[in-house]
Amino acid sequence: MKTVVLWIGFRNLTGDPRRTLLTVSAIAVGLAALVFLWGFNDGLHRNMLGNFQSTLVGSLQIHRQGFFSNPELARHIEKDAPILAALKAAGVGRWTRRLETYTLVASDSATEGSFLIAMDPRTEPRVTRLGEKVTQGRFFRPGDEYVCVLGAASARNLGVGVGDSVVLVAYDRFGALTAEDFRLIGIVSGGGLGIDRGLVLTPLGAAQEMLDMQGRITDIPIWVPPERLETVTGQLRRALAGRDLEVLRWYDMFPVMHEWVTLHNAFLYLFLGIVLLIVLAGVVNTLLVSMLERIREFGIHLALGNRRLGLFVMVLSESLWLGLAGIAAGVLGGIGLVALTAHTGIDLSLLLGDTQRFYVDPLVRPHLDLRHLGQTLAAVLGITLAAGLYPAWRASRLSPVEALRHV
């Protein structure tokens, strides 16, 4: 087989420029739509997961083994120096230290069982943006002592406002019940983000003192960009192996969010499949019709001494060129659309109303996951080639004499 058949295959497409243009545009439009959908989907997820992680959880957390499923103070981190060294070695700069335990919050009129999160006011903003969720009063500053921040719903239930005092009751490191007065300095509200109730925040120092945990912490939340999450996790797990620690990704802790994204993607893959089927049907039809119109010409090719394989490759190359042209145009169009809408943003507030419950900002900025782009391109090219297989096979099976006699 000579490579000239690839060139002839290309030239054959110029025989009916209108049909070629139509086929290429069909592929291109389908692909551009898919690329844009992926961009929208990936942008939405990126935003959603980013918000989720930056609200409270971070991308990764390190605890004593078993602390996440059973948060007792006895499972605290004794010495954090090796962990900080491992973080430094992994190139992670955005981490903070916390102390977490169960507590009872009591006001003059009511009590509420809550989760106490004590944080270092200086390093917390590296990992979360809790401070930005303060709707009344203020967030912690270095030097704050026995002060606390409550969610809006909790404050309402307890009947307290900024400046009032509440009592936090908890077991200390040795299991003794302890209680302290905390002054409410701020109220956070995140709409549906799950921080409005059941949560009380204090500075790390005060909580350590109250719980007899001098210098000790229970977890180290970390922020890393999504694309580095897996590598950093691997590095940390290796570096900290044998130290009775757990390195958990956000989705190890809260798998529901991850499953939601997977489900969304599954829908998109389904859609991809449907679009591909439509493209397949269209391209098969076009190629088959154009092949049947040229039977006589294929007879000439065979008679002149083209082998069957040569003819097969020639006809198949027609779908290759169609696919490549469609992909080039479709990717340009799709990426252009993603870039444009990423610049302006797509406002979903009219469509969805309050989107905070899903950790989604109302202004979605599409962002393309290159893996999804690659998969889509490969699938479209594959399907276009597949569409050419049958016509190519038919052409290559022709008998030269019968094909020449064909009118």
């Binding site: 000579k2 000239v4 002839i8 030239r11 054959n12 110029t14 025989g15 006589r296 010409e297 000439i300 090719h301 065979l302 008679a303 002149l304 001494g305 083209n306 082998r307 069957r308 394989l309 040569g310 030269p400 004499v401 020449l404």
Partner: protein
């Protein structure tokens, strides 16, 4: 070497039947034929007499039912499709009745294409194409596409294409059938001229008087047999011997059965 001593084409007892459903039509009924290098041989005969079938058997396009076909010293009998294709590419040039150019390619690209199939570089093939288009008298039309050429001009491109690979034999099946008689005469004179100048063997099937008149040697085919100019006389075989039922692969037989079944009901 071998080639020059022997005949360029040697055909012995060639039989070929076409089956339409279960009815056999004998197209070649015991053909014997020898052709020497450099001949300008015309095969004449009425329509349906078997000229095309004979040419197709010689051109490694069609498989005979029985008999021997030696072309350029090679026995084409048992060859598979790829070997036949390679043989056509290397040794044969074809001029068909009409409309036989690749329609998306210009005249010179049409001629160059066969050279490229032979594995020569594009540039060299283009040079050859220009040379041969010049030889057939339409060097100035190289950049036209077939639909921008007249029938006679297209046939000239086809002749150039047939010669561009340096074949041993050019097989032309009714080359003048689709052009007017003046153009037809010009074409046949062109081929005669090329035959004399380059020594290429021409086998032309035609019932056009102008072609018959130009023949270097003339053979007449009737009912699938060569009259007179053939080698030996053989009485016709009974139909059953001429047309053995073809052994088709199982799926092919099932397909035919199905077709027949559908035709009946």
């Amino acid at each position: 070497m071998n080639r020059d001593k022997r005949h360029l084409i040697e055909v012995r007892e060639l039989y070929k039947c076409y089956w339409v459903g279960s009815v056999p039509y004998p197209a070649l009924n015991g053909v014997d034929l020898r052709v020497q290098r450099g001949e300008f041989l015309v095969i004449a005969g009425r329509s349906g007499s078997g000229k095309s079938t004979l040419l197709n058997c010689l051109g490694a396009l069609e498989r005979p039912d029985s008999g021997q076909v030696r072309v350029c010293g090679e026995d084409l009998g048992a060859w598979d499709d790829d070997r036949r294709a390679d043989f056509r590419l290397r040794h044969l040039g074809f001029v068909f009745q009409a409309y036989n150019l690749i329609r998306v390619l210009s005249a010179r690209e049409n001629v160059a294409y066969v050279c490229q199939l032979q594995g020569l570089h594009r540039g060299e093939c283009m040079e050859r194409a220009d040379y041969w288009l010049e030889q057939v008298g339409i060097g100035y039309l190289g950049y036209r596409r077939p639909d921008q050429l007249s029938g006679g001009q297209q046939q000239r491109v086809a002749v150039a294409r047939a010669l561009a690979t340096g074949p041993d034999i050019v097989l032309a099946d009714e080359p003048t059938a689709n052009v007017d008689s003046k153009t037809g005469r010009d074409l046949i004179h062109l081929m005669q001229d090329l035959n004399r100048r380059f020594g290429t063997t021409f086998l032309i099937a035609s019932h056009d008087p102008a072609v018959i008149q130009a023949a270097g040697r003339l053979l007449r085919v009737e009912d699938g047999r060569i009259q007179g100019g053939g080698v030996t006389y053989r009485p016709p075989r009974p139909l059953g011997l001429v047309c053995p039922r073809p052994r088709r692969p199982l799926w092919e037989r099932l397909r035919l059965k199905w077709r027949e079944h559908r035709r009946r009901h």
